[in-house]
């Protein structure tokens, strides 16, 4: 079970959180001008990254706030936790793990 450091509450067990998939996918403001395929890509497609992945979590059983996590999907190590809307921290985005 992961230990996730909620930016608002501190370290808590994974069971208090819910997963929200890939981070930094902005909802298109001009969906009118998107093709079906582009829109489908937004709604359904997430990257399946091996290595450092930027993802969203929400502290469902705590403060109920969303935030972003940089997690290595191989080692499950959490490298950074940062607020929604903030830029991801500079990380060594290894491709060779």
């Amino acid at each position: 079970m992961l230990e996730i450091n909620c930016p608002y509450c501190g370290p808590r067990f994974e069971t208090e959180f819910s997963y929200g998939g890939e981070a930094h996918i902005e909802r298109p403001k001009d969906s009118e001008n998107l093709t079906d395929e582009q829109w489908g890509d937004y709604v359904f497609m997430n990257s399946n990254t091996k290595g450092v992945f930027l993802e969203r979590w929400v502290h469902t059983s705590g403060c109920r706030r969303w935030f972003n996590v940089a997690r290595d999907t191989v080692s499950y190590q959490i490298l950074a936790v940062y607020e929604t809307g903030a830029k991801p921290p500079k990380l060594d985005l290894r491709n060779d793990v």
Partner: protein, 1005 residues
């Protein structure tokens, strides 16, 4: 009278406290401090089970967690545990234990024929034999399960209680042997919060089995006692004995199972204590001091009762004061086993010979054995064993120069005990579970921990350090280092680690497969995994058949896959595979160690979350009144909702018909408190609703209500409900009962992640209000008696709300309707819910007020063609499919909007919501029934859709139904057929969905 094989003195048992127990129906005596295994051996019982596949007689082969033979069923009836290791079961008065995997008895097992037919049971036997025809597998399976099986499931629910607890510590030390104790001491002295977990009931680890060991010049167990006293005196140290660390998970999360009462007689178990407790532990640092497990040698017929690990023999003699036999042969490849020979010799057991694979046996213990005059046969091997239910003799022969063959017919040596040692395997299981690498150590021929993957270290034998002195030092240093990493630097003068003799089990000669006098597989079985009956010949067969990866070999042969997870077999299997290929062991690799280390009781995972505590129950403020009224309840999520209110002698159908009619004829009342309520405030609240709902909200007047449909981003209907404008910047949203929490989550997600610029505040107020819904032509008449609000149609029209009082209670009254009749929903603070309900019921008597439940509500709304999300929708239904185009705004964006304009959404053959009327008005279609245009003789038939809602409607005077049908709206008036499972076919006609009061006059009146 003491048991026959009990030593008159020595050991850690209490000879003044006899303990009576039953094994296979016979009563025996042991002593406090015994395990079931030691007490059985004291009574001369070695045959304790039958093997998994061949049903060969099996005895106790170890003295610890690695036991693969002596798997025992303990207890009776509902209090029965299968697969417990006799070597770890503490003897307790009244213990009832039995062998498993044998029928009719362990002494006479009919399935032993499998042993003689073993040529027919090669590796992969099940895969090869029972795969054809595939449909027969179910038949085979039940017979195989009966013949194989590992114990029986308990009969009935578990009567014991279990508990779970969370814990945190700076340093978790796993194992309280010499390394674990020095580690806990030095980390504890530094001030770190330490948990020391030990699977045994006593501290000391291997020292409990070593009669003569000394630490700091004093007997080792006296030193252990001092360490225990010091640790118990440290406030920051917690010692957990009888606690198995069974799993090492991500982020230093550790699972431990603590056994609290199994060692107590049934009548002495404190009622306040759970049987077992699950510890969910997060440790900053994990220090693994889990020791090592002795490795058996793989030789011909090495599985007979009486053949056991040399270290186990030492444990039985030194710790339990029992003689595991009268006449022993030691079979070894290393110096360490000579210590066992000496201990047996000292205990008065005749050591007939020490058979040593090494060509020139030497080493400190070997020398001592020589001095003691023991017979040593160097460069010799045991090539066969004899004896059925107990080993009777071994055949010993000299090895060829290269160790590949044996010479001559050999010498027969009579014995009833064979003590075996093939070296030691560090217990790297937890390190490996944490995804730490393990590497092969050529000197000790074993796998040792490599780089850890998490915040952990290993110490002592677990890390490949086998000398007592080295263990003490490494544990001591690791304790200081891990404590320092958590911020606790050792204070004061640097202490030296305790000193002890430093001797390991080398020198040794590594031989993974001991040759016999016949080719492998032709007479005699070289067992690698005794629990799964996997032999060296099985491994060779798998390799000949083309298996290469050790993971595949493991699965094909099942080696290392039993409840013991290959503690004594895995490394031998790897060695044999490497030998077959003639490659170095690291090239073969190693199979993954998986949790649990030893089996864990199911009960601890459930803990107290059983029965009534499995899931919280939510009740409305009026619940007790409904119970008193005799309501039948249904579960809606966690809520208990009145389903219907039967009066004397009514069945459900009669009750629902009466309730449904009452709502149309006079007055019904329903508890609607469970509907989700979300309070929405802030200057951007209206804009927020615009983006969340399909319809527009900016123009909604204060005091007005509007029905809204909420979609997922995929365009599918997610929820619906009425939202009311309480003020310019204040709305109250209602959701379906079951969706209240997901809808709040949905709103929060968009607000926080997509539209943080909106100033909106969301608060769940579901439980703050009680809601009473009045429905029927007399609703206004009754409410007028109770409220100060002007109820005239002009002053308080449909789809508006007013604030005032009801029965003197501050109330919000909403003129909204889910029944299609004149209806008011009264919201009052939850604590007034019961009072208002009682007042309404009393005042309503003159109108024959009728409480109605969810079933009547379903019928009433279906009469009006109102959907229920989750019944008419299933996550694949759009507003257009429901015929609700009118609620989809074309002027603004909203969640899910773009998806509605995908090409697929405008296809004519999408499933659309329609009404159905059966040709026979009394016939009620089953919900879920499939509909076809053409009935075939038998399935498959082309299905067009299914019935979503179906009821008898007393108000319409016939059955009514709704269905999702491909191209449904183009089929108005056409016939469809519902072929049912019983062969009957129901014919029906496609109609619109509104069956009652199509103009809606009753609602608005």
């Amino acid at each position: 009278m003491p048991a026959r094989f009990r030593l008159t003195q020595g050991g850690l048992i209490d000879r003044s406290k006899p303990v009576s127990f039953q094994f296979n129906g016979k009563v025996y005596l042991g002593f406090e401090g015994d395990t079931l295994a030691s007490a059985l051996i004291a009574n001369g019982v070695h045959l304790v089970g039958r093997s998994f596949k061949y049903h060969r007689p099996r005895g106790i082969m170890s003295a610890g967690a690695e036991e693969a033979n002596a798997l025992i069923q303990v207890g009776e009836g509902a209090r029965s545990d299968p697969n417990l290791r006799a070597t770890q079961i503490e003897l307790v008065d009244g213990l009832v234990a039995s062998s498993q995997n044998c029928w009719p008895s362990v002494e006479f097992d009919v399935s032993i024929v499998n042993n003689f037919a073993s040529r027919l049971l090669p590796s992969g036997f099940y895969y090869k034999t029972f795969m054809w025809p595939a449909s027969f597998w179910m038949t085979y399976e039940s017979a195989i399960r009966k013949a194989a099986g590992l114990g029986k499931a308990p009969e009935g629910p578990d009567p014991d209680s279990y508990d779970k607890t969370f814990a945190h510590c700076d340093v978790l030390v796993v194992g309280a042997g010499p390394s674990g104790l020095t580690a806990a001491l030095s980390a504890g002295r530094a001030g770190a919060r330490v948990i020391l977990a030990e699977q045994d009931n006593a501290l000391g680890g291997d020292l409990l089995s070593e009669a003569d060991a000394e630490i700091q010049g004093q007997p080792a167990l006296e030193w252990v006692e001092g360490a225990r006293a010091e640790l118990e005196g440290l406030e920051n140290v917690r010692i957990l004995t009888r606690t198995q660390c069974y799993g090492y998970f991500d982020h230093n999360f550790i699972g431990l199972m603590q056994n609290l009462t199994d060692h107590l007689p049934q009548n002495a178990k404190p009622a306040s204590l759970p049987r077992h407790r699950l510890w969910k532990l997060r440790a900053k640092q994990v220090l693994l001091a889990t020791g090592a497990i002795e490795r058996p040698l793989v030789f011909s017929d090495n599985d007979r009762p009486g053949i056991m690990l040399a270290s186990a023999c030492r444990t039985y003699v030194n710790r339990y004061g029992v003689k595991p036999g009268k006449k022993a042969v030691i079979f070894t490849n290393n110096d360490g086993a000579y210590a066992a020979a000496l201990d047996l010799h000292k205990a008065g057991i005749h050591v007939a010979a020490i058979v040593d694979l090494r060509s020139d046996p030497e080493g400190p213990m070997t020398e001592q054995a020589r001095e003691a005059g023991l017979r040593i046969l160097g460069n010799h091997a045991v090539i066969a064993t004899a004896g059925d239910k107990r080993v009777k003799a071994v055949l010993v022969a000299p090895l060829s120069e290269d160790g590949e063959k044996v010479y001559g017919g050999g010498e027969k040596i009579d014995c009833d005990l064979v003590a075996v040692s093939g070296g030691w395997n560090p217990t790297v299981h937890l390190h490996s579970q944490s995804r730490g690498k393990i590497v092969f150590d050529d000197d000790y021929a074993c796998f040792v921990p490599g780089t850890p993957a998490q915040e952990s270290v290993t110490a002592g034998a677990c890390s490949g350090n086998f000398g007592l002195g080295a263990c003490l030092t490494q544990g001591h240093d690791a304790g200081i280092a891990t404590a320092a990493k958590t911020g606790f630097k050792a204070k004061g003068r640097k202490r030296a680690p305790p000193k002890a003799e430093d001797r390991n089990f080398l020198p040794a000669r590594w031989m993974w497969l001991v040759p016999g006098d016949k080719p492998l597989g032709h007479g005699g079985k070289h067992f690698v995994d005794v629990q799964n009956d996997v032999t060296a010949a099985d491994l060779h067969l798998a390799l000949r058949e083309g298996y290469r990866s050790i993971e595949h070999v493991k699965r094909y042969t099942t080696t290392g896959m039993g409840t013991d997870q290959g503690k004594t077999s895995n490394v031998n299997a790897i060695g044999i595979v490497a030998g077959h290929f003639g490659c170095p062991i690291p090239n073969v690799g190693v199979t993954t160690f998986r949790p649990p280390y030893t089996p864990v009781t199911f009960g601890v995972f459930a803990g107290r979350d059983v029965g009534d505590l499995l899931d919280p129950v939510r009740k409305t403020p009026m619940h007790a009144l409904h119970e008193h009224a005799g309501a039948a309840f249904e579960d809606v999520g966690q809520w208990k909702r009145p389903w219907y209110f039967p009066i004397a002698g009514e069945d459900m159908h009669q009750a629902v018909n009466r309730e449904v009619k009452a709502c149309r004829d006079s007055l019904g009342v329903m508890d609607a408190s469970t509907l989700g309520k979300i309070d929405i405030q802030g200057k951007d609240a209206a804009e927020f609703l615009n983006r969340i709902y399909t319809n527009a909200w900016s123009q909604l007047k204060v005091g007005a209500c509007r029905y809204g449909l909420m979609l997922g981003e995929d365009g599918m209907v997610m929820d619906d409900g009425v939202t009311s404008r309480l003020g310019e910047n204040h709305f109250l949203m209602t959701t379906t009962t079951g969706n209240a929490a997901p809808v709040l989550g949905h709103l929060e997600e968009y607000l926080q992640t997509e539209w943080p610029e909106l100033e909106v505040y969301l608060t769940s107020v579901t439980e703050q209000f009680a809601t009473i819904s009045l429905a029927g032509p007399n609703a206004r008449n009754l409410l007028a008696e109770l409220t100060d609000i002007d109820l005239s149609a002009e002053a308080f029209p449909f789809m508006t709300l007013r604030e005032g009082t009801a029965a003197g209670i501050p109330a919000r009254v909403f003129r909204i309707s889910f029944t299609g009749d004149l209806s008011y929903e009264i919201n009052v603070p939850a604590s007034y819910g019961a009072a208002l309900w009682q007042t309404v019921m009393t005042a309503g008597e003159k109108y024959g007020i009728t409480p109605y439940g969810t079933e009547a509500m379903h019928v009433l709304r279906a009469e009006k063609g109102f959907i229920i999300v989750g019944q008419e929708t299933d996550g694949s239904v759009t507003p257009f499919d429901l015929g609700m185009d009118w609620i989809v705004s074309k002027k603004k964006d909203f969640v899910g909007r773009r998806s509605l304009f995908r090409a697929d959404m405008s296809k004519d053959d999408r499933k659309q919501l329609v009404g159905l009327l059966t040709d026979v008005p009394e016939q009620v279609l089953p919900e879920g029934a499939q509909l076809v245009e053409k009935v075939e003789d038998k399935p498959p038939m082309k299905m067009l859709g299914h019935v979503t809602s179906s009821y008898h409607s007393p108000n319409v005077g016939r059955s009514i139904a709704m269905a999702l049908i491909k191209g449904g709206r183009a089929r108005m008036g056409s016939k469809l057929y519902a072929p049912l499972a019983d062969g009957k076919v129901v014919t029906c006609t496609v109609t619109g969905v509104v069956f009652y009061d199509k103009e809606g006059e009753r609602t608005r009146g």
